[in-house]
Structure formats: structure tokens, C-alpha cells
């Protein structure tokens, strides 16, 4: 019954044109590593997509190419819903917090707005809002080294959100966090995504995280990095801790795990 309801819910979503589409994308690094081969991927508006795969399969490489950090060696990455020259359509959360150590939390969050030449007062207001969103209001004036690892990551997320991006690219943002914090941030990210109108591409190597968060899991295999499976996670939002214990969740975890295992097997055959 639930599966049926979900399908209906998924179909309700508006706008089906892709936000970004990768066609035959390959990446060869200067040392000869073939990191990606023949990647085709369409990501739709307001979709929550996870890239799932073993370490070294090219998830970060693909995400960086999508972000425009580096050129693909072959194929192309197209943004059909043209971005109208708006520098803030895109935000990126790196695998590490990547904060400026000489700047306080709020100054770090203000950075993208400062680059966009927003007035300091307005930027400060919006940065304060973003920090409140991640629960760090009390730490506005702390320097990164005075924050814990999880707090730094939240500052980094606040910095990505402050520009109100249309596309949010996240590279294992919660991988270094403890489980309790990760669950909370998972819940909060989902709530934020439902309330807003952005698209998320979320890199992870955790089956559970990808099944909990996303509508769609793109499974990748290594050597060379490629997409081997594209799974739809038909479960209704809002997803909460009840979902984590539901049979539906288990079922999706099982199929995602199977896909990941076959990805590893591919890897073993080729490597």
C-alpha cells in the first residue's frame, strides 16, 4: 500500500526537465588514471540524488565536474535550465569543512555573499540566519579551531545554504560525524530540502544514509569509475526516525546493498 502511495506522491512533483545532464562524461587525470568513463546522468529539478559507491570509484571527481571544477576529458555536462549568469545557483559542501582559519564562523558564512558584493549589513543578517539554521548562533564569533569537527561541518553547510542555492552539491558531508549528529543533520537536511526548492546531489558511501535521504540512488563502480545501477527509492516524505525502522526502509537497504556489492564485485574482476 505504501509503495503505491509513494509512486503517486512522486508523480505529483512538478517540473521534470533536467537541471543538469551528463552525456558520455569521462575523466582522465594527468597521471593517466581513468577516474570516470562514459557517465550518463540526468538530474531533475528538486530531486534528491545520492551517488553511492566504494572508495575511489570517482564520486568526488564526478561531483567536482558537475560543479564546474575542472573539465571532463570527454563528453559534456549541460545545464539546460540555463543559469542566467547567476553565480549563486550552485553551492558545494566539500568532504572537509574547508573554512578560512583566520575568519570567525559568521565571517566564513558571509564569504559567498561578500564575493557577490552584497552589503555587509545584509550579508551579516543572512549569515546569522544560516548559522541559526544549523544551530550555531552562539558560536558566530568563534574561530574554526575553537569548534568541534561536527560544528565546523555545520558552518560549512551554513555557508552553502546562505546563498539560497538552486543546486546543492554535497561530498560526504557527514562522513566524519558521530551517528547521533549525523542522524540529526540528515533529518534537518531533509526538512530543509522539503521546505525549499533546491536540487541535491549527495555523495556518500553509506547505503543507509543514501536510502534514508534520497529519492534516487546512483550506484557507481570503480576502475574505471562508472554508473552501474540507478535505483528509485519509493518511500514517502517526510521521512523520520519511524522510516528508519520500517520494513520498506529495510527492503530498500537490501536492494541498494546488493547493487553496491555487485559494484564491488565488478571492481574485484577488473582490479
Amino acid at each position: 500500500m505504501t509503495a503505491f502511495a509513494n509512486a503517486a506522491k512522486l508523480q505529483e512533483r512538478p517540473a521534470t526537465r533536467p537541471v543538469v545532464s551528463c552525456r558520455g562524461v569521462a575523466k582522465v587525470f594527468s597521471n593517466g588514471t581513468l577516474a570516470l568513463q562514459n557517465v550518463d546522468l540526468d538530474i531533475k529539478h528538486h530531486q534528491f540524488v545520492s551517488l553511492l559507491g566504494p572508495s575511489g570509484c570517482g564520486k568526488s571527481t564526478l561531483l567536482r565536474l558537475i560543479a564546474g571544477l575542472g573539465e571532463p576529458s570527454a563528453g559534456e555536462i549541460d545545464w539546460p535550465a540555463d543559469r542566467e549568469g547567476d553565480a549563486h545557483a550552485l553551492s558545494f559542501v566539500f568532504q572537509e569543512p574547508t573554512l578560512m582559519p583566520w575568519a570567525t564562523a559568521i565571517k566564513n558564512v558571509m564569504l559567498p555573499l561578500k564575493i557577490a558584493r552584497m552589503s555587509a549589513d545584509e550579508a551579516r543578517g543572512r549569515a546569522a540566519d544560516a548559522l541559526r539554521l544549523v544551530g550555531l548562533s552562539a558560536f558566530e564569533n568563534s574561530y574554526p579551531r575553537e569548534l568541534s569537527g561536527g560544528m565546523k561541518m555545520r558552518v560549512s553547510i551554513a555557508r552553502a545554504l546562505v546563498t539560497r542555492p538552486q543546486v546543492l552539491l554535497m561530498d560526504e558531508p557527514f562522513a566524519a560525524l558521530d551517528e547521533i549528529t549525523r542522524f540529526k543533520l540528515n533529518n534537518d537536511l531533509l526538512r530543509l530540502w522539503q521546505d525549499s526548492n533546491f536540487t541535491v546531489v549527495f555523495v556518500t558511501h553509506s547505503v543507509f544514509e543514501s536510502v534514508f535521504l534520497s529519492e534516487r540512488i546512483v550506484v557507481m563502480a570503480a576502475r574505471p569509475g562508472r554508473i552501474i545501477e540507478d535505483i528509485e527509492v519509493a518511500a514517502p516524505y517526510p521521512r523520520d526516525n519511524d522510516y528508519r525502522t520500517s520494513p520498506l526502509y529495510n527492503e530498500h537497504c537490501r536492494s541498494a546493498s546488493a547493487a553496491l556489492e555487485s559494484a564491488m564485485a565488478h571492481h574485484a574482476h577488473h582490479g
Partner: protein
């Protein structure tokens, strides 16, 4: 409040809690040993020196004791302070020019690898050529003696700032550079908000070295120039006292040079501490 991501706040408490370290006369208690210990060593050594001079009855034209040196400094303060002022102003002017030129050139180098590759070797040549060897030439070429001294001091002081700042500008975190690219920051914004702050600790380390070097450069150049007349620095006082066998005065001038060097170093260290204390590893106590 149920804004997304907000509940995590609960686990952090509402605000950070600070406990302050005890202070004595405005300085943290842990800072006092750092000041008192070297001072004690210095006083003990001076005392031993005075004892050795007195017990062995060493004549002042061989080795004057610290007390005699101090009284000479007091009595000759008129001449010596004038010379001190001249030497210091040349050093500080050279340091200032070295900072401006070093940072400007480093920024230029950071703009393109080619510029750096083409010009950096010449900066190295300037650095490795002994200033004693080129000082006579510079003094001949430049009419104004003060200016030629300044140029010599600058040559010595400028390289650490240039090379450190160049290194610093190129050491900005790679992912942060990507972030700036992602938000389409202009070259100038990247320089201002990322490269320059990232270079600051390197620049300050260079500045500390250059501060001492500018004084050494000024003194060496003065020795070579050996200028007479009213506008003469401490190096000239040392030469002059040597000729006249006024050894206590020679020591007094020497002391003043050393003390100036120490003061310059302390000032620059303090400046560095002020700038870096909140964020840079070098300025922080290890707490773990």
C-alpha cells in the same frame, strides 16, 4: 523552535562557557616565567662579567666591566643617542621599503608562474651577494650617503619578506581556491580575501627575520662607508672609539646595537602575536 538543523544546538548548550586565566599585573600568570627567566640569566652573566673584570683587574682598554660601560653610555648619551637615532632610522626605513617592495613583488609573482620563474633567480642573486662587497659600489654610485646606506640595508632585508610572502601566497588551501572559483570570485577578491590572509603568517615570519637583517645591513654599510661629520651612526662610533682606544664607549655603542636588535625583534614578535593569536597554530598554546 523547529527550524531545520536547529535541534543540534541543544547538544552544544546555548553558548560557549569561558574560564579566564589568573593575571598578575595585567599579564597572564603563565607569561611571567618567560620574561623573568631570561632576565635572570642576563643579570647573572653581567654580574659574573663585572666580578671577573674586578678580580683579575683587567684594564678598561682591554675589557671594561658592565658598570663602566653603563656609566660611559650615560655620560656620552648626547653623542651616542644621536648616532642611535641615525642607525635606527636607516634600518627602519630600509625595513619599510623592504616590506612594500617585497610584498608588491610577491603579489606580482603570484599573478603568473612565468613572472615568478623569470625574476625570482635575480632576487636570489641579490640575496647571496655579500652586502660588504657591493656596498662600496653603491656608495660610489649614489651621491647621498644616507640613501646609499638605506639601499644596502634594504638589499639585505628584502629577500626573506619576498620569499616568504611568495610562498604564503601560493599556500592557500586548494579546496578554498576551488570554493572561490565556484562563487566566481574575481582575481582581486581571491587575492584580498584568500591569498593575502593565507600568506600573513609567512609574511610575519619573514618580517621577523628582516627586522634584524635591516639593522645588520645598516651597520655593515656604515662600517664600509665610514662617514664622518655630524650625521654618523653607531657603527661609525665603534670605528671612531677603536681608533681613539676609548674601548668602554665602543662597548656602549655595541650594546646599543644589540639592544636595538632585540627591541626590533620583540616589537615584531608582538605584532605577529597580535595578528595571529586568534587563529594561527604558531600563536596558540597546544591544548589536547
Amino acid at each position: 523552535m523547529t527550524t531545520p538543523l536547529a535541534q543540534v544546538a541543544e547538544q552544544d548548550g546555548t553558548a560557549p562557557v569561558f574560564l579566564r586565566e589568573k593575571t598578575i599585573l595585567g599579564l597572564p600568570a603563565s607569561a611571567w616565567p618567560k620574561i623573568l627567566m631570561p632576565l635572570a640569566v642576563g643579570l647573572l652573566s653581567l654580574g659574573a662579567w663585572e666580578m671577573v673584570v674586578r678580580i683579575n683587574q683587567i684594564p678598561p682598554y682591554i675589557l671594561p666591566g658592565p658598570i663602566l660601560i653603563a656609566t660611559t653610555m650615560w655620560l656620552d648619551w648626547g653623542t651616542l643617542s644621536g648616532s642611535l637615532w641615525i642607525t635606527l632610522s636607516i634600518s627602519l626605513a630600509a625595513l619599510a621599503v623592504a616590506v612594500v617592495a617585497g610584498v608588491a613583488l610577491a603579489i606580482l609573482f603570484a599573478q603568473s608562474k612565468w613572472v615568478e620563474l623569470s625574476f625570482f633567480p635575480y632576487a636570489v642573486i641579490l640575496q647571496v651577494t655579500p652586502v660588504v662587497a657591493i656596498a662600496p659600489l653603491i656608495i660610489i654610485w649614489v651621491d647621498n650617503v644616507q640613501l646609499s646606506l638605506l639601499i644596502c640595508a634594504w638589499i639585505v632585508a628584502f629577500f626573506p619578506i619576498l620569499s616568504n610572502t611568495t610562498l604564503g601566497l601560493n599556500s592557500a588551501d586548494h579546496n578554498l581556491l576551488n570554493l572561490f572559483q565556484l562563487y566566481r570570485a574575481s582575481r582581486f577578491q581571491t587575492l584580498l580575501y584568500l591569498r593575502l590572509p593565507a600568506a600573513t603568517p609567512y609574511f610575519l615570519a619573514g618580517l621577523k627575520i628582516s627586522g634584524g637583517l635591516s639593522l645588520i645591513g645598516a651597520v655593515v654599510a656604515e662600517f664600509v662607508a665610514g662617514t664622518g661629520g655630524s650625521a654618523s651612526g653607531l657603527a661609525y662610533r665603534i670605528l671612531e672609539s677603536g681608533y681613539q682606544l676609548r674601548i668602554p664607549r665602543m662597548f656602549a655603542a655595541l650594546f646599543m646595537i644589540s639592544i636595538s636588535g632585540i627591541v626590533i625583534f620583540l616589537c615584531l614578535s608582538f605584532l605577529s602575536h597580535l595578528v595571529l593569536r586568534r587563529w594561527h597554530e604558531s600563536a596558540l598554546k597546544r591544548e589536547n
